[in-house]
């Protein structure tokens, strides 16, 4: 069958189904007709069938090199390996949008299945309605201004190929995981809005969407880490994060959702901060959409820019409508949402959560502010003043350290109100350790304030987490008489929701260590070497020994080999490459990495001269590997926190 036709028809059918679902749901709500709502639910679930067909059609077109399709011609070519052909699906804007709609429809289908026995409840139809409207928006774009199935007026002999920088496994999974996160927050947002419209403001919506929140947060985290990893191993500038607008666009929702996940715990436990949580979930969703808008609209210059595409206007309208609508809803339900009893003491666990929130939001705000600052300054003063990496580092570093401090303080301070005695007892060990650590570091020559503070706070937080683990194991030992070594894993598993959180925190500590090491103690050097010459950086000596070139599939490769010695002892051989892809104007550099627990040695070869003299850019990134380990732990802890406890039969 003609895949273009199938794709177009499926998209049209999907849009029609979402419209129909909306109409049925509205009718059902107005007439209070459960049958109408039920068929609305089914049409809504059915959208997933059509979007899946459209997605299938697009991947089929990529697989069969159907270059008469503009999107395929733009992002694929005959020589591209099959794996990358399949994943070129989301290399551009139109395919990404289809991916969005597809995943959203699958998520929605899951929600409609999980709630199939709850259609009688007052808020359920509204959840469907909100979801149908959001899905409808994306399908509208796909059917009008951004169809991936648009044909060219001719069939080019070959496609333009996939940007070689995107031909990397990290890059393949970076965008879709970010999207999975962005899209996931649609579900809690819909629950929140439905709760406000229907007036069912009990924390039920929070409990039901807890897994969605954390799962989406996990995906965002993975996406951000993969992005950093990709930048590090593929872009070859030696760093992993540049505060690029699009990176910020993924970081802002991460910060806001992290804040939300924390205060959601407070609302579940104490039923306070209800207005705050409503505002946060709305903000999370809006920043997700805003992130997509930033990437797609071309208002800001960025390495990820897809060029101006005319989609910006649509997103802006959507953003405004959602933002204003949600604000009105929160204002209307404010009197029911607000709680009489609030925080009981400044020195309580609740208030550390509040301060953690304020700081997370402050980081989000300063990041957002710095990202859009050039636009603002031009509008206000007529002069384009811009800020970059130094701004974000300068503003956010102290805030992050404060956040780290709170991460350590939180478990030490009891709920409601902490007594001085309790504080003294809990503080003694971590504080002593942190101070001792700082003194040792100072003695070994770390004299700058920020790294010193970061490392000693890292110790402080680790100690408090360790304390929590030990306390848990001891308590279980008392209860069951088990050996501590048996009790620890069991208590971790039993209370995995809580300990998962601590694992995430510990991951963050490791990440702070890695980032501090690789930014505060980074060494960089560039040099041009003739064959046989050597350069030194840190403890390393790099001698250029060999050069060769060869043809490999869709590229020509030039490779230089260097013999490495560390403190005079041989430490292996490193090969760094430059690759010229047949379909790309620019060569790419292939990073050579020597990773150890202590430091990464990072080599690239930005230039090759006419006599094979090579320019080598070398960098030493101390402790960076711990950052990646920490990222992995954060994800692991998140997963731990959402593993369901024993399966319960849903009550009919």
């Amino acid at each position: 069958m003609n895949m273009v036709l199938l794709g177009n028809l499926s998209l049209a059918a999907a849009f029609a189904a979402s419209l129909l679902a909306m109409m049925l749901l509205l009718t059902g709500l107005m007439r209070n007709d459960l049958r109408c709502i039920e068929s609305g639910r089914r049409f809504l679930a059915g959208v997933a069938v059509f979007t899946s067909m459209a997605a299938l059609a697009l991947s089929r077109l990529f697989m069969t090199d159907a270059f008469q399709v503009e999107y395929v011609a733009s992002y694929s070519d005959r020589a591209l390996p099959l794996f990358y052909k399949a994943t070129s699906f989301w290399a551009g804007q139109k395919g990404s949008l289809l991916f969005w709609a597809w995943v959203l429809s699958l998520y929605i289908a899951l929600v409609t299945w999980n709630t199939r026995r709850e259609t009688r409840q007052k808020n359920t139809p509204y959840i469907y309605l909100v979801l149908a409207a959001i899905l409808g928006f994306f399908l509208l774009l796909l059917n009008t201004v951004s169809s991936p199935f648009t044909l060219l007026s001719f069939t080019p002999p070959d496609g333009q190929g996939l940007n070689p920088m995107l031909q990397n496994p990290g890059m393949i999974f970076h965008p879709p995981t970010l999207f999975l996160g962005y899209i996931g927050f649609t579900i809690p947002f819909a629950y929140a809005v439905a709760a406000m419209i229907s007036g069912r403001l009990d924390p039920g919506w929070l409990r039901k969407t807890r897994r969605w929140n954390i799962l989406s947060w996990i995906f965002l985290t993975i996406g951000i880490i993969l992005g950093g990893q990709w930048a590090y191993v593929e872009l070859g500038w030696g760093g992993f994060w540049a505060w690029d607008p699009v990176e910020n666009a993924s970081f802002i929702p991460w910060l806001v959702s992290t804040a939300f996940i924390h205060t959601a715990i407070i609302q579940e436990r104490r039923n306070i901060m209800r207005v705050w949580n409503m505002a946060l979930i709305v903000l999370t969703f809006l920043t997700c959409i805003f992130g997509t808008y930033l990437v797609r609209s071309g208002v800001l210059q960025s390495v990820h820019d897809f060029g101006a595409t005319g989609l910006g206007g649509f997103f802006l309208v959507f953003l405004l409508v959602t933002g204003i609508g949600s604000t009105i809803l929160i204002a209307e339900s404010y009197s029911q949402l607000r709680t009489r009893h609030s925080l009981e003491s400044l020195l309580s666990r609740e208030s550390t959560f509040l301060f953690n929130n304020v700081i997370l939001l402050a980081i989000a705000f300063s990041t957002l502010f710095g990202t859009v600052f050039p636009l603002i300054s031009e509008m206000v003063t007529g002069r384009k003043l811009t800020v970059g990496e130094p701004f974000f580092n300068q503003v956010n570093t102290p805030l992050f350290l404060l956040l780290l401090l709170l991460t350590g303080l939180c478990p030490l301070i009891g709920w409601r109100r902490a007594s001085a005695d309790n504080l003294k007892k809990n503080f003694l060990f971590p504080a002593t350790l942190a101070i001792a650590g700082a003194m040792v570091l100072f003695g070994t020559g770390v004299r700058e304030f920020y790294p010193l503070a970061a490392f000693s706070l890292a110790l402080f937080v680790s100690a408090t987490i360790l304390g929590e683990f030990a306390a848990g194991a001891r308590a279980r030992k008392r209860l069951t008489g088990e050996n501590l070594l048996v009790a620890l894993p069991r208590v971790l598993w039993k209370l995995r929701r809580r300990y998962g959180g601590y694992v995430v925190h510990f991951g963050m500590v490791l990440m702070v260590i890695g980032i501090t090491g690789a930014t505060a103690f980074k060494q960089e050097k560039e040099a041009t070497l003739q064959r046989g010459e050597a350069m030194t950086i840190g403890d390393y000596r790099l001698r250029y020994t060999d050069f060769r070139s060869f043809q490999d599939r869709n590229r020509t490769v030039y490779a230089a080999t260097l013999d490495v010695t560390r403190q005079g002892r041989p430490a292996g051989r490193m090969t760094t490459e430059r690759r010229y892809y047949i379909n790309a104007e620019q060569p790419t550099t292939e990073v050579s990495l020597r990773i150890s627990a202590r430091e990464d040695l990072y080599l690239t070869m930005p230039t090759i001269g006419s006599n094979n003299e090579i320019t080598i850019r070398a960098a030493i990134n101390p402790l960076l590997v711990w950052g990646w380990v920490g990222g992995g732990l954060m994800v692991l802890g998140g997963i731990m926190a959402i593993i369901p406890s024993r399966r319960r039969r849903p009550t009919p």
Binding site: S366, P390, E526, A527, T528
Partner: protein, 137 residues
């Protein structure tokens, strides 16, 4: 208002004030002005103490690159006024996308005595392929 609520609010205000201060200070410390090549040449009270960002096109035939010493010299042309040109020197590796007519974004200081722009960062944008390119062909 209760005393403890007051204390909490005071603490929050303190944080917000601190954040505001950090942001303002961040801008004044690290903010960089955008200037066109023409503006740099004519503007006599250009801020000297802080960096300037300027973009333009690399002039054909002007590129000199000393690979051994990693020194790159070239001329950029104003993106609108083609007769306004600026001499640039940059110490570092020549980027891949850097070539004649490429658009470059430079950050650095203008040395008025030598009439040379000393770039600390150099970003070259190759006219990368956009979706519209296929359509135009």
């Amino acid at each position: 208002m209760k005393k403890r609520a007051k204390k909490t609010i005071l603490a929050l205000l303190l944080i917000l004030g601190g954040v505001g201060f950090l942001i303002l200070k961040g801008i004044s410390d690290t903010g960089v002005y955008y200037r066109t090549v023409a503006e740099i040449l004519s503007d006599n009270d250009l801020p000297q103490q802080r960096g300037v960002r300027v973009s333009g096109n690399v002039m054909p035939g002007s590129i000199e690159y000393d690979q051994q010493n990693l020194l790159l010299r070239f001329m950029v042309r104003d993106m609108k006024e083609a007769d306004k040109t600026l001499r640039v020197s940059y110490r570092g590796v020549r980027p891949d996308a850097f070539r004649e007519e490429a658009e470059v974004i430079l950050e650095g200081r203008f040395d008025r005595t030598n009439r040379t722009f000393r770039a600390e960062t150099l970003l070259a944008k190759c006219p990368s392929k956009y979706e519209s390119e296929v359509a135009k062909r």
